[in-house]
């Protein structure tokens, strides 16, 4: 008999007033009993609407059925047929707009907690799996992957499993891309990310850090001098956007990228880190995405009073529902329908406040979301000594500007075939945020997997 409870098994979490002062993971994960109980809520629908909602089509009812039986390793095998990073995706996927929003149980009550079950299965495997992965026999072909974020890791993993000799090039000193520099420890522990990377290395993948493709080496050199038969570009969308309003260069104003990189990559929150950070006493975060939530919750943990200003309403927040909920519980103030027009300065060119306008929603724009329009004469100032701009990122032009014949969109995204990732250059594939602009971990991972399959086909067809 299925478990007909209308509610999900609750996720054990650190108490809000405790966790908003530390950087340890917020959600603690299901126990085996909770996982089995939750798995029994699944009705095992024949037409699997949840799988249709998953960007990489994990056979969700099949893995959940194994969890319900206590066969956690079997469940893991089913997930990893489709996903390369289950411990990551179980934590950071926006399940409420993907698999879980299609769940039949969600029509009356809450959907099955698919994300939490995925996380449980991956964590169980990581804690208990003993056998080292089998290193596949080499097929003698070399592929280079640029960037060690979700798309690059997924692409490298799939190719390595097919016997390719893969080298991943990373510009920073640590692999993981946005998983390492962007998403905070309290949401995605860095030990999990490094475990995924260790797993790839065990498959024979080489990871070269400190190599900036477009500067240290070019794609042409990789293909001509280094003997790579194909290249996958997964360089992400790393360039921070600003609003172009007065005062954005004042001291105390950060891009969310800088603020989070100081914290996550450089560990500025630890007393022994030599990288400084100035979260201030009163921080204002501009934006409503996951990155804005991450920045706000990080600033809170460093002792600041934090206000998020967002120009639409709570309903339009692009962040995951859970992150918004957690942020609110942790004492972060939200000012909706609010848009900054100027950052004000004290006599030392430090931030003193943010002048904002009240907004109201009008007809939907091209993105389908209601367009915010300023209410005239509604300006007011919020006091702040730290401002974090979190209004999105664009692809980095370094590779485009050093790779002849690589076509890009006007806004910088690399033009690539949706199914294969093939770019305008033979043998050069691309995927993830470098192609789509800032999106999700799971979409990037899916693009990396598709490109791996296409690269395999391309190299096989040539030989």
């Amino acid at each position: 008999m299925p478990n007909m409870s209308l509610k999900k098994n609750e996720m054990p979490v650190q108490e809000p007033d405790v966790r908003n002062k530390n950087f340890s993971e917020v959600a603690l994960g299901y126990t085996a009993e909770q996982a089995i109980d939750e798995a029994k809520r699944c009705l095992n629908c024949k037409n699997k609407p949840c799988t249709g909602g998953c960007p990489v089509q994990i056979d969700i009812p099949a893995f959940i059925a194994e969890v319900a039986e206590g066969n956690f390793e079997e469940a893991y095998k089913i997930i990893t047929r489709s996903s390369s990073l289950p411990a990551v995706c179980g934590r950071v996927c926006p399940q409420e707009s993907q698999c879980e929003c299609k769940c039949v149980r969600g029509i009356k009550g809450e959907p099955v907690a698919i994300g939490r079950l995925e996380r449980f299965v991956a964590d169980f495997h990581n804690a208990n799996a003993k056998e080292a992965p089998e290193v596949p026999a080499s097929n003698g072909h070399k592929v280079a992957v640029i960037g060690s974020g979700p798309s690059g890791l997924a692409c490298a993993g799939d190719l390595a499993k097919k016997g390719y000799k893969v080298t991943v090039y990373e510009a920073l000193h640590l692999a993981g891309g946005v998983l390492s520099y962007g998403i905070p420890e309290f949401r995605l522990p860095k030990s999990i990310v490094q475990k995924e990377i260790e797993g790839l290395k065990a498959l024979g993948v080489d990871v070269e850090t400190n190599v900036i493709i477009g500067k240290t080496l070019s794609i042409d050199e990789l293909m001509e001098d280094y003997g790579f038969e194909a290249v996958f570009i997964g360089s992400g969308a790393g360039l921070p956007r600003f609003m172009n309003i007065k005062g954005e260069n004042l001291s105390g104003v950060y891009s969310a990228n800088e603020f989070l990189t100081r914290i996550n990559l450089m560990k500025a929150y630890k007393p022994d880190s030599t990288t400084p950070i100035q979260p201030g006493k009163k921080a204002v975060v501009v934006g409503g995405g996951n990155v804005a939530m991450d920045a706000a919750r990080s600033a809170k943990r460093l002792g600041a009073d934090v206000t998020i200003v967002y120009r639409r309403t709570e309903k339009e927040l692009p962040a995951r529902a859970e992150e918004v909920e957690h942020a609110m519980e942790e004492g972060i103030e939200f000012k909706f329908l609010t848009n900054p027009v100027e950052i004000t300065s004290d006599e030392n060119k430090w931030v003193k406040g943010v002048i904002c306008q009240q907004m109201e929603l009008s007809a939907p724009d091209e993105s389908g979301r209601a367009r915010p329009v300023a209410v005239e004469g509604s300006e007011f100032e919020i006091e702040a000594d730290c401002v974090i701009m979190s209004i999105g990122t664009s692809p980095n032009p370094l590779i485009k500007s050093t790779t002849e014949g690589l076509e890009t969109q006007k806004w910088g995204g690399i033009i690539a075939d949706e199914e294969t990732g093939l770019t305008s250059r033979e043998g050069v594939y691309a995927g993830g945020d470098a192609v789509t602009g800032a999106a999700t971990v799971i979409l990037a991972m899916g693009a990396g997997k598709k490109a791996a399959a296409a690269i395999d086909e391309y190299i096989a067809s040539k030989n």
Binding site: K215, T216, G238, E258, S273, N348
Partner: protein, 280 residues
């Protein structure tokens, strides 16, 4: 790992290191920079490339001990390895078509002014080099500058070597005496570059200033190094580090560069104390 092949003290606070980094050496050009970390928990700091040897794969850096990381770096020796060394980053100095240039360096900035001077000299450009230091003990690369320039003027604040006065005094004198430069290139403390640019603006001489702002990744990702140039936001790491000096908002970047001063001072003191304990 990036081995320190050679270490040389140029003056009591300025050190030269030659680092084994073949990939960086292959591509580096004057004006570009690298980012290094001394150890696994170290911060990332940008340093401008002072020289490179493509044949033996080494890159030379010259740094002044100003904070925790440069203090740690200065305690490393030949045979030790830097944890990370990435580059070359930023755009190279534009040298094409220049016939006559004045290079104005100040303090440790002369370490960066030198490779540009050398390159211009090798290209057959007439180079007048002006190097300014606080006092005699701090002078670096004097012989090298002399060998790579058609005219070399040494200035010191206290008159203990060369002529007494500021680099702007020397530059003004040259311009007033009728020297006509295609371009002035200035590298040194922000306040010095601000005054050099102020001077050349009066005479309408194009001036390039090399910026060294606070930076983390060096690839355009963090935006920490942003500054206003001609009223537009630029990232020093990818758009620079060299910009039209007449367009730079120096006051703004001076303020941004001092954002972490109290933290830096404390971190430096803590590091010094650690080294003192080790000595005991």
């Amino acid at each position: 790992m990036f081995e320190i092949l050679e270490k040389k003290c140029l003056n009591p606070t300025v050190t030269l290191m030659r680092i084994n980094a073949p990939l960086v050496a292959k591509k580096a050009e004057p004006g570009q920079f690298i980012i290094l970390r001394t150890d696994e928990n170290g911060e990332r700091i940008p340093l401008t490339v002072a020289d490179y040897d493509r044949e033996n794969g080494s890159v030379t850096i010259i740094f002044q001990v100003v904070g925790a990381t440069t203090e740690k770096l200065n305690h490393m020796n030949e045979g030790d390895c830097l944890h990370d060394f990435a580059g070359p980053l930023g755009r190279a100095t534009h040298t094409e078509g220049l016939k006559k240039v004045a290079v104005v360096g100040g303090g440790v900035g002369c370490a960066i002014a030198y490779p540009v001077t050398k390159k211009l000299h090798e290209l057959g450009c007439e180079v007048h080099a002006i190097a300014g230091f606080r006092t005699k003990d701090l002078v670096i690369l004097e012989d090298e500058f002399k060998a790579a320039s058609t005219k070399f003027i040494l200035m010191s604040d206290d008159g203990s070597c060369g002529e007494k006065g500021l680099v702007t005094d020397a530059l003004k004198k040259l311009i007033e005496s009728g020297e006509q430069y295609d371009e002035v290139i200035t590298i040194g403390p922000l306040i010095m570059m601000k005054f050099v640019c102020g001077l050349t603006k009066q005479y309408g001489i194009k001036t390039i200033a090399s910026m060294n702002p606070i930076m983390i990744d060096g690839t355009g990702m963090c935006g920490g190094c942003r500054l206003s140039v001609g009223g537009k936001m630029k990232f020093a790491c990818v758009d620079g580090p060299e910009f039209d000096g007449h367009e730079i908002d120096f006051d703004e970047i001076m303020s941004r560069n001092s954002m972490y001063k109290p933290f830096e001072r404390k971190a430096h003191e803590d590091t010094c104390n650690l080294f003192k304990q080790e000595v005991k």
